[in-house]
Symmetry: C2
Subunit: 421 residues, 2 copies
């Protein structure tokens, strides 16, 4: 008898009809002889409604109270899910974060799970009932309600699957799996049947919004097989699993992310320790940096001999556009400290990335990527690489062109056009 | 330093503006040097919205899950209240039923409080914070969320005031106190400054909707002074207290209740034990009965000698109109068992009552009531009395006439017309 964890997101819980539909899928899994635990998100729109109520009171609501407020969204959803399962003639029991109990630290609005007590769930499953768990929420040592941050229900689901030793964690969502790239941009995008945790992690952090990054990290750590699939179809989706289970291909997918802005500190003193000074200072201001590129300053010696001020260089990095307003002053301050002549910002950029486990053993992926972009007349502004991905910053206007050219160049397309909802 | 418990009902929490207003009143009490605990109801309309969601799933939702669902209304309200207090520069901390902890039995949707652990509240108050408690909810021994039934936040407030030994429990509502009668019917109705628990209990059970009956019973049992007052004005309202504190008047108020229907079992066997048989059977069917009148059957002997079937009588009682559809079959069955020739129903009735502690020492209140009604041509269909009230059933059309005549006859009117919102 397998143990199946299912997670239904906000869209899958978006109306009473959809909740009934989700309940029917859960019952079907139960009827096939599985023990079933369902994790639910708040009905779509509900979390935003609750946050708006708080913001109507004040622009900076107390974090502890925000969590008590926001957690009601999943509480409502879990109760309705249990009611819907009952109404279809099966037994179910809902558990909240503090009932189950999902112990977290006390970092309100972005708490991390420390431990899960699965004993009540195991007992309820043994009694033949379906267990419904409110996602996104936990409880700290002092009994305060905590939440795990946006998309936290994915993390709840994987953590519970890990704690129970579940055979699979099914993530039901409004797309039917993970694609080789965004089907809205590239009609030949193909659903990926199986993908490694590492690749999924890169795709998630590069803008593919199917799974929350933290949940993929956790699934990888505990070896939980994650099955991303559609709530509106019974076809299999994408299985996220260990690489050992996979037939290796060189490139798995193309991702893009419009969420970053490029910052360039021009004419920084080119001395040992200056770059460390810059990023230590930014970290102290809580500025989260992604790509970092120190440009080669070919004429440093020339400058030095001309101005007598020693060699200079340019330091480029990217930060989240959302953070830019908040961190501009901190960046300017750091720039002054390291003698930057100017600080330049560019928000009109997109990061296009090629991801694939096979890169580790196949040379030439980066070179091929640069060649494809060049052939299409796309200028690369910055490059960053990891073991299994290559990312290039290009002007935003090239987004669709770059994604399609790379998707075709690495031969990722299916025979038929992608179908996604 | 006094300890003040304040309770804000759904109307007082009906919008963000009103929540801010309630927070300001709480802060004012705190600024006067009191320790303050606030109990909140769900924002008006929210409980109905939640119940509708469940009813959209099924007409008979699971009771345990209904409570988990309904409790979110007060959870949202308590978080928003704490946020609003913070936003006005003061410290506050919200507690849910399971956090505080308010231990109840496991009778979902109508649980009763068994014990309250006030230690966390006492500690938080000692730290100079305002405590906000979600009303209406508790937790059972197994950690399940329970609710106390409609209007249960009044009961939460009084129970918490009792557990803390509060100096007063202020009930903020949308009227400015308890009136001698309904000001909508009788413009000369006067706000009562002080009233006894016993009188308040009679008025509440007779249709005055200012306080929930259970909360008055609890206040009486633990001697909690209850101050019913308006959220929209700073004038004092009505203090509900021990009779010893009161200047005794003969009649305190006139109440009416259109919620009952009259049932008459005609021609029941007039034997010892028959009435007991009727009401035991009705209780077994969970039929809650209010007034009971056994009519004098003057011609019982005549009937007996004529038909040879022994003496007969008529038994009249009232049940809640809301229950009538549910209990009709049970009543018919009981009627057949006791040989009733016919069962007659009358929903076109109102119960008008005169309430006052002074009745215990002043004879003639009932006689005066009957005389006043007779003078206005109002036929009395049934009478029921207790130590401190006399109730008469009359046709619904006489409601306003009867209430005004009794209010005037017992000289309850103020000099000026009543003002109420």
């Amino acid at each position: 008898m397998a143990l199946v964890v299912q997670k239904f997101g906000g869209t899958s819980m978006g109306s009473i009809e959809r909740i009934k539909n989700a309940a029917a899928r859960t019952i079907a899994a139960h009827a096939e002889g599985n023990r079933v635990v369902v994790i639910v998100s708040a009905m779509s729109g509900e979390t935003d409604r609750l946050l708006k109520l708080a913001r109507d009171v004040t622009s900076v609501p107390d974090a502890r109270e925000m969590d008590a407020l926001a957690a009601t969204g999943e509480q409502v959803a879990s109760a309705l899910m249990a009611i819907a399962i009952h109404a279809q003639g099966h037994r179910a029991r809902s558990y909240l974060g503090h009932q189950m109990r999902i112990l977290t630290d006390s970092a309100f609005t972005k708490a991390r799970i420390k431990a899960i007590d699965a004993s009540r769930v195991v007992e309820t499953l043994a009694g033949g009932e379906i267990v419904v768990v409110a996602g996104f929420q936990g409880v700290d040592e002092a009994g305060n309600i905590t939440t795990l941050g946006r998309g936290g229900s994915d993390t709840s689901a994987v953590a519970i699957a890990a704690a129970l030793g579940a055979d699979v964690c099914e993530i039901f969502t409004d797309v039917d799996g993970v694609y080789t790239t965004d089907p809205n941009i590239c009609p030949t995008a193909r659903k990926i049947d199986r993908i490694s945790y590492e690749e999924m992690l890169e795709l998630a952090s590069l803008g593919a919004k199917v799974l929350q990054i933290r949940s993929v990290e956790m699934a990888m750590k505990y070896g939980v097989p994650v099955h991303v699939r559609s709530s509106f179809s019974s076809s299999p989706g994408t299985l996220v699993t260990h690489e050992g289970d996979l037939e290796q291909v060189v490139v798995t997918g193309i991702a893009y992310d419009k969420g970053e802005a490029r910052v360039m500190l021009v004419g920084v003193r080119d001395q040992p320790g200056v770059v460390a000074e810059i990023f230590t200072a930014l970290a102290a201001h809580n500025v989260s940096v992604d790509m970092i590129i120190q440009n080669v300053s070919v004429d440093a010696t020339a400058l030095a001999s001309a101005g007598g001020q020693g060699p200079h260089t340019d330091v480029t990095f990217t930060v989240a556009k959302n953070d830019l307003a908040r961190v501009r002053d901190a960046i300017a301050e750091v720039g002054r400290k390291v003698g930057a002549g100017d600080v330049r910002y560019d928000e009109d950029i997109v990061k296009v990335s090629v991801v694939g486990l096979g890169m580790r053993s196949h040379a030439g992926v980066a070179a091929k990527m640069f060649r494809i972009l060049a052939e299409h007349g796309i200028n690369i502004q910055a490059i960053s690489t990891s073991e299994i991905k290559v990312s290039c910053l290009v002007a935003t206007k090239y987004t669709e062109l770059a994604v399609r050219a790379l998707h075709e160049g690495f031969e990722l397309g299916g025979d038929q056009a992608a179908t996604s909802k």
